[in-house]
Amino acid sequence: MSSKNQNKPVDPAIIVFAGIALLAIAFVTAAYPAGADDSGAMSQLMVAFVTGLTTGGLSCLAVQGGLLASSLARQIEQDYAAQIPAGKKKAKLSAPKTNSALPILLFLIAKLIAYTLLGALLGWLGSYLALSPLTRAALMIAIAIFMIGNALRMFNVHPVFRYFAIEPPKFITRYIRKTAKGTDTATPIFLGFLTVFIPCGVTQAMMATALGTGSAAMGAALMFAFTLGTSPVFFIVAYLATKLGAKLEKFFMRFVAAVVLILGLVTLDSGLNLMGSPLSFQNMTRGFFPRASELAAADSPAVQVPDGELALTVRNDGYFPALLKAPAGKDLILNLVTNETYSCARDFVIPALDYYELLPATGVVKVNIPAQKAGETLFFTCSMGMYTGQIVFE
């Protein structure tokens, strides 16, 4: 073997992923020691970890992926700028070698610390910190505007979009420069902490569990276990996404900007859904483009309910039927039926009625709907603004 091969540096992504994997193994070993009694607390932590590893990772990525993409976009811009100096626009363009492992790791560590602290606070303070769906919707819309503005800045649409770039205070950049020699560590850390404000549905379910523990230590341990579980999925998807991007050569920056723009628009749509706005893409197009799963569900037998009541089946992939019709001018009862439902669809919201309920995984919850005028539409959604539906009164 040549010395050149022997000296080949190890991809930082492998080191980071190995670190996450070792941490996860250490956690599982500590939380579930062989031969030990299966105490309630330990199995609760294991459930939290496995939930994060399975459904939590992808679910959180759908909501928080935009913030991660923004962290990466900044690093990619930095790598790109370092490789192709300004003023040499005619230089042969090639894909930069991105150092994407570091910002992803910093983002995930910040997220892990933030959620552990949040878990401790939740366990201690109880329900005081719970954000209402409307507050979360407003935050999601604000974050969406930030993302769309940043994408337009990267597309160089207009100088005004430069104001969407995060410029940390000078004393921080000076400190970073002295310690990290130009590596931007503040942005992914800051954005990782921001994820606390946009928890996905599964995370919210876990936060509700943390509230119920009534202990700062247990709340922190629970959220740590869950967030650690989500980390491998976050890392793999994000890292592969950047590697895919690197192959797009001269379209690279535009590709990143386009991804941020799409995620921004998706986040905006989710925020509008969560506000119960008829202007969201899903609510405007429901009649025109029914999802395949909605069509399949239309063929299955409906849940039987007494006259004057409506039934809505809450499944892991949404609400069925997504379009309900009800008589106007009469109070009615909406039966929310779950059957081993663990997705964010469980976090049911009717924004116009200010109704929010975390449904049991299996069971029926009745909601009293006051009489509505003919022609009115009541929108409902999951707390992520991801799954939606509506009741039309006629």
Binding site: R74, E77, Q78, A81, P85, A86, G87, K88, R162, Y163, A165, I166, E167, K170, T173, R174, I176, R177, K178, G182, D184
Partner: protein, 74 residues
């Protein structure tokens, strides 16, 4: 000490500002650099006896930026 404002139109991201501020460490006679990506300019405070305006512009050129003095203050 003199303070000059340099217009740098080819900054492409906030990191450019941070990169330009590293002149503080790299060039003798520079007391402070405050660069802004939003304003596309850098305020450089320096000792004229140790470093010249031309040397600063040349250093920025080496970093890949084209700078132009727009304002000077004593």
């Amino acid at each position: 000490m003199i303070k000059k404002i340099f217009k740098i139109e080819d900054m492409t991201c906030p990191n450019c500002a941070m990169k330009i501020e590293s002149l503080e460490d790299d060039l003798e006679g520079i007391a402070r650099v405050d660069a802004s990506y939003r304003a596309l300019q850098a305020a450089v405070e320096y000792d004229e006896t140790k470093v010249s305006e031309e040397r600063i512009i040349a250093a920025l050129k080496e970093m890949g930026y084209t700078a132009l003095v727009v304002e000077a203050r004593r």
